[in-house]
Symmetry: C2
Subunit: 344 residues, 2 copies
């Protein structure tokens, strides 16, 4: 089968690898119909240490179940399913609390002996806990939006939940990548009164406005902080979604939060230290977030996608086949594409 | 009048200074009957840059109103009052939200032209918003516990609130100072199921046990983390109260929090950076806290103090008059006293 491997910065190749097979009785094999490239895939694309064997890429997928292990009960051959970027058993103490990314028997696609999803097929461990059957056909018009439930929409939603977005609140979203844009949509869905997007790319800003952004701040650093303060009458935002993951973006996020406010950070930040920005402690600002428990959020968000209430699939502005994946990385890295969908 | 001034590390002097007087029409003058020395006073005691004019010390007080400005309506001469460590107008947007430490017209005792409370009298700005009248006599047996509402009990309570302590939860308290001990009491009051104290001093541990600590961990660093993990069956604590304020204690706090758990940090931390401890982000740990909005908490905690439901005044294990304040600093700095009360 064909799969995507990364060998070093800028070096992405589509190669033929051994077919996946059932290893554990709780596994399912899924033949992928849709996958995509994630903003977090761009970190290794910029910085990874060269690898002789390559790193299997991709963690967002919709596909058709091809085979299941002997202990799998909830999905069967032929089901169309979506998988979150982390697999999880659905039964451990953390899964029961809705924190599937901390599952005691879980893990991530593209790590260890579990392959990546920018491939023709993938082995899904803990299939019963991980996979969600979709009640639509494999080429339904909703495919792009359903695919975002695998990661990017759930991640934007997690940023909003961690930042305590609620009805009438003033929200700021730092970053106009696909996660930030989905964060805007999630904030609107949760009833935010005002949504300020910090971003600079016209195509992304246009989509964010359609998704509910009420104000755009294109300045950077201290100027951005000052502009948000102006917009918020000097108070700052109740809820700040940090959707970039760099030290400077985190500093900006902490600096535009209102006293008593919250910052939700998500994704795969390059910088995890929370800087000692003077206001963070003295203004009683809460910092929350981490990898999104997307599996829990699929159940919350799926009805809204199915009834057309939200259409996060609009973040995809390029479609390619698997042979075009290396070009897709280039386009996303050059900011020519917001997010690239892979159609099989 | 006599007041306490700090001139440099270890150099605390009681001196005669000009009497306080009304400056603003919203001021009250309070003749102090009880004050105390705070753990946060020990930071400058260890590290302050020498000062020729001295720094006015103290921010916890009970006293009798001696005079009020022309616009003061809620307190009058002769009232016995308790003051939180921060003054606040009680009417601004942040005060109305219960975050009085971010009051738009507020400030702190012992800073700028507002004197400290380790003095015979103090000028209290924003008297209507700041002072709470106590329904007891000035030498009531409850004085020690009422005095803790000025800071230390409210601060321990804030740590517990920020760490999301609730019924049945497993709580860990890092630090056996007066704030940590009050944090134990606050956690018990909020219904914690298990309360693990990380501390090493037998007298403090004994009091923490009386206040509700169920487990004591006297190891430090990695050994402490391992011990808490053993006690919590490998999971960590739902709620961690960081009551020390050093980098190492914050690292310990982050490392013993359970995935999805919360760390509440309070007081005047020497180190405000939140370290990039590997688990913080990947375990979705929330970090919250700051200066406690003690003014808001007085109204919540006062009834429990008045009816004897909590007795946080037991953290005072030394009483002195104002002349004994320099010795009180020494005893607290040498860990010979948990907390020193000043009786006028």
């Amino acid at each position: 089968m064909k799969a995507t491997l990364m060998y070093g910065p800028g070096d992405v190749r589509v190669e033929t690898v051994p077919d996946v097979r059932i290893i554990e009785p709780t596994d399912a094999l899924v033949v992928i119909t849709r996958a995509c490239i994630c903003g977090s895939d761009l970190w290794p694309y910029k910085t990874m240490n060269p690898s002789e064997t390559g790193r299997s890429m991709g963690h967002e997928l919709i596909g058709v179940v091809d085979a299941v292990g002997s202990e799998v009960r909830k999905v069967k051959r032929g089901d169309l399913v979506v998988a979150p970027f982390a697999f999880s058993d659905g039964t451990c103490i953390f899964c029961r609390e809705g924190l599937h990314t901390s599952c005691m028997h879980g893990g991530f696609f593209g790590i260890g002996d579990v392959g990546g999803a920018q491939s023709e097929a993938v082995r899904v461990p803990q299939a019963d806990g991980t996979l969600v059957v979709l009640p639509v056909g494999r080429d339904d018009d909703l495919m792009p939006s359903l695919l975002t439930l695998s990661d990017v929409m759930g991640t934007g939603h997690h940023a909003a939940v961690c930042a305590k977005v609620g009805p009438g609140k003033t929200v700021a979203v730092v970053g106009d990548g696909a996660v930030g844009i989905c964060g805007v949509l999630a904030a609107r869905r949760l009833g935010a009164g005002r949504i300020i997007l910090l971003g600079r790319h016209p195509d992304r800003i246009a989509l964010a406005k359609e998704f509910g952004a009420t104000d755009i701040v294109s300045e950077r650093g201290d100027d951005a902080v000052e502009r948000v303060r102006e917009i918020t009458h000097g108070l700052g935002a109740h809820s700040v979604l940090e959707c970039v993951g760099l030290e400077q973006s985190m500093l900006t996020a902490l600096s535009i939060a209102r006293p008593g406010g919250s910052v939700g950070r998500v994704g795969v930040p390059q910088e995890q230290t929370i800087p000692a920005a003077q206001p963070t402690f003295y203004n009683n600002i809460t910092v929350s977030g981490g990898p999104a428990p997307v599996r829990a959020y699929i159940e919350e968000l799926l009805p809204d996608v199915l009834d057309g209430g939200i259409n996060p699939g609009r973040v995809f502005d390029r479609i390619t086949d698997i042979e075009g994946v290396p070009d897709g990385y280039r386009e996303m890295n050059d900011r020519k594409a917001i997010k690239v969908m892979i159609k099989f």
